[in-house]
């Protein structure tokens, strides 16, 4: 018989305001096995934990139930507390009477009754608990960073600087990501390339970093400390070891009509190309869909002009497998498609562009060589209208329900840069709210208004109508004046919502990392574990977790790196002891369990079994504790009930069911 202690937490008034904790103590004390029950203001506090430890010692408790917040919050805390007091940590059960009770019910009587039942279920379970001992698994001292933008580069550099091998996998031909496409950065207005390229070079030169561009993650298996990843290196059609990066091939390539991805489709590139001049590696790829050689078998000019003989039309995709201890996801973002927002005439006029396209227009390496001009006719614009919140803060399916966070600031930046360089250009910004929470951010926005004379109007744009004379008629609200405005503009720039890069969806499935309804990766805890995925060993870096600007991205990238380093620094990991275990006397050896095991953790051995005096060789399932992750699929597949899950045994769960239905 267990000797159980029950500890009911008030959580200040979080629990105590709706649950009569005294009553819970009183009722729990009557349950079988319970020899001690008490309540306290904050069980998780030092004093609360001291009470638990004292009771364990004094009452010689063999198991405890803490009625408090979610086990996802403090189970680990109370387990550690029990362990310090000499009790096996797996003899602790939590009754969640906060998130699942006091916070959702208003009626005290009802909530108290439910809390009592939840406590009862936990007591029934702990009566059947057995001490468990965690196992150990090894840690592969190598990290994988998925995505080679500023987030991935920063995470990789930090991990590599700590002395661990890092592989960066980037799906495009060069690292650099979105930041490489930006012209200037806020709120300092320094040049994006000037601060990014040194980082790219540093990553490329780092002896601990391997960069796999034009590559994608194909398959991921394993678990924290021991992931096995298949990476596909797409055929570049160029031998990177031979290529000198001279650029002759690109110059001579006759197929020059493909839209440049790097310049957001605003101009074209050759079929053999490096996305931009500072690309790393400076090795081109052949776009096989556009290449004349691949389409018709004729041409081959690039091969002829390549002095190094690097062009290899026969190159094939290559898949290699590598093991990693930690994975950092840094897949970044893209702007949403504007197909469903044609009231802004994005598809009807070349002079309506997104902000990211404006970055390319403003950039010296962009389609207009950095001259601000209309893309339709090359004319210098007299008036530019910026529209905020295009697709952000939308509750319908056209857009995104969240604030994209960076638009207010980059719009202020664009407005300021334009007014600075071209004082003759009038700039109007239509906004719903100007959101500038950040260091020097509001000051920056105010400078745009006060020093640069940018005209901010509160109100949304309803329609952009292209006019026969080539101008754009912008119809908008001025809410402060309660007017409808119609103004002519030469260009309209849309602050388009950002969304996670679509590649993150299949990746999350491979990683078994959870993802929210907007396809942002979910963090383990929104406040306390913001850079970790709930899936152990997966860390989040940059916009894949939520909208953020460059300094925030870099900060998070560093934080993710530190978490990864903390993992890689360990030689062994303690494993979850809640693993499956087969009862040898009951096992049929039928292999049903192995069929459903996602980890290949179950194997079969022929063993001499003594079954009530009958000795015979039997085929028996054996679970590898280092591989088993404790899902329990095998326990239900097992027809005889031989396979059980420690910590969540059949009898424990049934005891909970019984306690609830009593």
């Amino acid at each position: 018989m267990q000797r159980i202690g029950v500890f009911v937490c008030h959580c200040g008034s979080n629990i105590a305001a709706t649950v009569d904790v005294k009553k819970v103590v009183e009722m729990a004390a009557r349950e079988p096995g319970v020899v001690h029950a008490e309540d306290y203001q904050y069980m998780c506090s030092e004093a609360g934990q001291a009470k638990i430890a004292a009771a364990i010692a004094e009452k010689k408790l063999t198991g405890i139930v803490v009625c408090s917040c979610s086990p996802r919050m403090h189970e680990a805390t109370f387990r550690k507390c029990a362990e310090r007091a000499g009790l096996n940590p797996y003899m602790v059960e939590i009754a969640n009477i906060r998130e699942h009770c006091s916070w959702i019910h208003k009626n005290m009587e009802e909530a108290t009754e439910k809390a009592v039942i939840l406590a009862r279920a936990a007591i029934a379970k702990v009566n059947l608990n057995a001490p468990l001992k965690p196992g150990e698994s090894r840690v592969t001292k190598r990290a994988l960073v998925i995505g080679g933008g500023i987030a991935g580069i920063q995470s990789a550099l930090d991990i590599a600087d700590a002395g661990y091998e890092v592989d960066i996998v980037e799906k495009t031909p060069s690292i650099g990501g979105r930041m490489a496409q930006l012209d200037k950065t806020f709120p300092t207005l320094d040049c994006s390339a000037c601060i990014l390229t040194p980082k790219m070079v540093e990553a490329a030169a780092h002896e601990k970093i391997n960069i796999y561009t034009y590559s994608e993650v194909e398959k991921i298996s394993g678990f924290v400390g021991d992931f096995t990843v298949d990476i596909r290196k797409k055929a570049r059609s160029i031998d990177a070891n031979k290529c000198t990066g001279c650029g002759a091939c690109q110059e001579k390539c006759p197929s020059k009509k493909s839209l440049s991805e790097f310049n957001r489709g605003l101009n074209t590139r050759s079929a053999i190309y490096t996305p931009f001049a500072q690309a790393i590696p400076n090795v081109p790829v052949i776009d096989r869909e556009a290449c004349i050689k691949f389409k018709t078998g004729k041409c081959g000019i690039c091969s002829k002009v390549c002095a190094a003989g690097a062009v290899d039309y026969e190159q094939k995709d290559e898949i290699f497998t590598e093991k990693y201890g930690a994975i950092v996801v840094a897949t970044g973002f893209d702007t949403i498609k504007l197909d469903k927002y044609d009231e802004y005439a994005y598809n009807q006029s070349k002079d309506v562009i997104t902000s990211l396209e404006l970055e390319r227009v403003m950039n010296a390496a962009g389609p207009t060589k950095g001259h601000l001009e209309r893309l339709s006719d090359g004319k210098h614009p007299e008036h530019i209208v910026f529209v905020q919140c295009v697709g952000s803060r939308c509750s319908d399916e056209r857009g995104k329900p969240y604030c994209s966070k960076i638009c207010c600031m980059y719009t202020a930046k664009h407005a300021m840069l334009i007014r600075d360089k071209y004082p003759d250009v009038k700039v109007t910004v239509f906004y719903i709210d100007v959101r500038t929470p950040g260091k020097n951010f509001d000051e920056f926005y105010r400078r745009a208004v006060e020093e640069y004379g940018v005209n901010y109007i509160k109100g949304q744009v309803g329609k952009v109508a292209p006019q026969p004379d080539g101008s754009l008629l912008v119809q908008a609200s001025d809410l402060l004046d309660n007017k409808q405005i119609k103004m002519k503009a030469d260009m309209v720039v849309l602050a388009t919502a950002i969304e996670p890069d679509p590649s993150v969806r299949p990746l999350a499935t491979m990683l078994t990392a959870s993802i929210d309804t907007n396809n942002f990766l979910t963090e383990a805890h929104p406040k306390l574990r913001p850079v970790e995925s709930p899936t152990a060993g997966i860390f989040l870096s940059g916009v894949c977790q939520g909208p953020k600007d460059i300094p925030e991205t870099v900060a998070q990238a560093g934080a993710a790196a530190v978490k990864a380093i903390g993992l890689l620094a360990k030689d062994k990991l303690t494993t979850n002891p809640c693993t499956a275990k087969a009862d040898e006397l009951l096992c049929n050896g039928c292999s049903t369990c192995a069929n459903v095991c996602p980890y290949g953790a179950i194997s079969y051995e022929v063993k001499l079994i003594n079954d009530h005096g009958v000795r015979e060789d039997r085929r028996i399932a054996v679970v590898n504790n280092a591989l088993c992750q404790g899902c329990g699929a095998c326990t239900v597949a097992c027809p005889s009930g031989a396979m059980d899950l420690q910590g969540f045994s059949n009898r424990q769960i049934i005891a909970e069911v019984d306690a609830i239905c009593r």
Partner: protein
């Protein structure tokens, strides 16, 4: 029948097998028993006729533990069970010498009795090569009964006359399939929830929990049944009907779902005449309709539907559309 005995004697004599698993005469013509034969002499009691419905596959679990090979006679439908057991590593292929025996459907004495015939003393003409009607002798005189009229329900919905696994074949099999296997299930599906509940309540209340169904079932072959172990706090042997009616048979059917070959032994042996196969067939029907046709025991290396999935499987809510109106 003599051919089987002769062949068995040969195999015993040349040492291919050390024992024979078959049927021997029972106290009446219509209840032969499953038996081991260890010598040529013992084989004199061997019988193979229309009443040898018993599926010998399950006995091969124990036979697989014995020294030497066992000769086992399997009817076409029994071979599915053998394959399924092989798939689950419960029988040892190397310990079995399988003679696939011909079958023209097996008989059910209850079907004879249901025709108003009582006081049965003997039944003849049930051999594989026998006539189209059997002769039933009773204390009131002799009666002729058409062979098919005395056949087990399962033979009317026979899976086919082909043996799925064997070492050699003796005897011709006949196609006896002349009914829709799922008709009875579909009829129940069409009832209202109240009718369904009443139907099963009435049938299952007859259960005396003798465990014959469990013991005969080739899929129900666990070393220890969950109903006898402490693992689920579900051990209960006392016959208290409210449990039997609602849980035991559902759990049993679920445990064999995807593994049941629909051999029909459960219903054949039930002393209370409960149509237990209707549970198993419901699962088979659902599996066929939701996850694609699947026949357990078709081969020995299939992946059973409950340890398998596709990404596009139906959601459980499909039951709301498919189930009772």
């Amino acid at each position: 029948m003599q051919e089987l005995i002769n062949r068995a004697k040969e195999l015993l004599a040349d040492g291919t097998v050390v024992r024979v698993l078959g049927w021997r005469k029972g106290d009446m013509d219509y209840n032969p028993e499953v038996a081991y034969f260890n010598s040529a002499e013992e084989l004199d009691n061997f019988v193979y006729d229309g009443f040898c419905g018993a599926n010998l596959s399950k006995y091969m679990i124990e036979a697989s533990k014995l020294e030497g090979k066992t000769l086992v006679f399997l009817k076409p439908c029994d071979t599915y069970s053998f394959n399924q057991l092989l798939c689950e590593h419960r029988v040892d292929r190397d310990k079995a010498y399988i003679i696939g025996v011909g079958c023209r459907g097996k008989l059910d004495i209850e079907k004879v009795k249901a025709q108003g015939i009582s006081g049965i003393t003997a039944v003849s003409g049930t051999e594989l090569d026998g006539p189209d009607s059997i002769k039933v002798s009773t204390i009131y005189g002799d009666f002729d009964v058409a062979y098919t009229d005395a056949m087990l329900e399962r033979c009317h919905v026979c899976k086919g006359k082909e043996h799925k696994i064997y070492d050699e074949l003796i005897g011709e099999s006949k196609d006896t399939h002349d009914m829709d296997r799922m008709a009875a299930v579909a009829a129940i599906e069409a009832m209202s929830p109240t009718e369904k509940f009443a139907y099963f309540q009435a049938e299952l209340s007859k259960c005396i929990r003798c465990n014959a169904c469990r013991n005969v079932c080739p899929a129900c072959s666990c070393r220890k049944c969950v109903f006898d172990s402490t693992k689920f706090d579900s051990q209960q042997k006392a016959n208290v009907d409210s449990f039997e009616e609602k849980m035991f048979h559902i759990i049993r059917a679920f445990h064999v779902a995807g593994r049941c070959t629909d051999c029909g032994e459960c219903s054949r042996v039930c002393p209370q005449g409960i149509p237990l196969h209707l549970f198993n067939r419901k699962f088979i029907k659902d599996i066929d309709e939701l996850y694609g046709k699947y026949q357990a025991g078709e081969t020995a290396d299939q992946r059973a539907p409950l340890v398998n999935f596709t990404f596009g499987d139906a959601e459980p809510s499909i039951v709301n559309e498919r189930g009772s109106k």
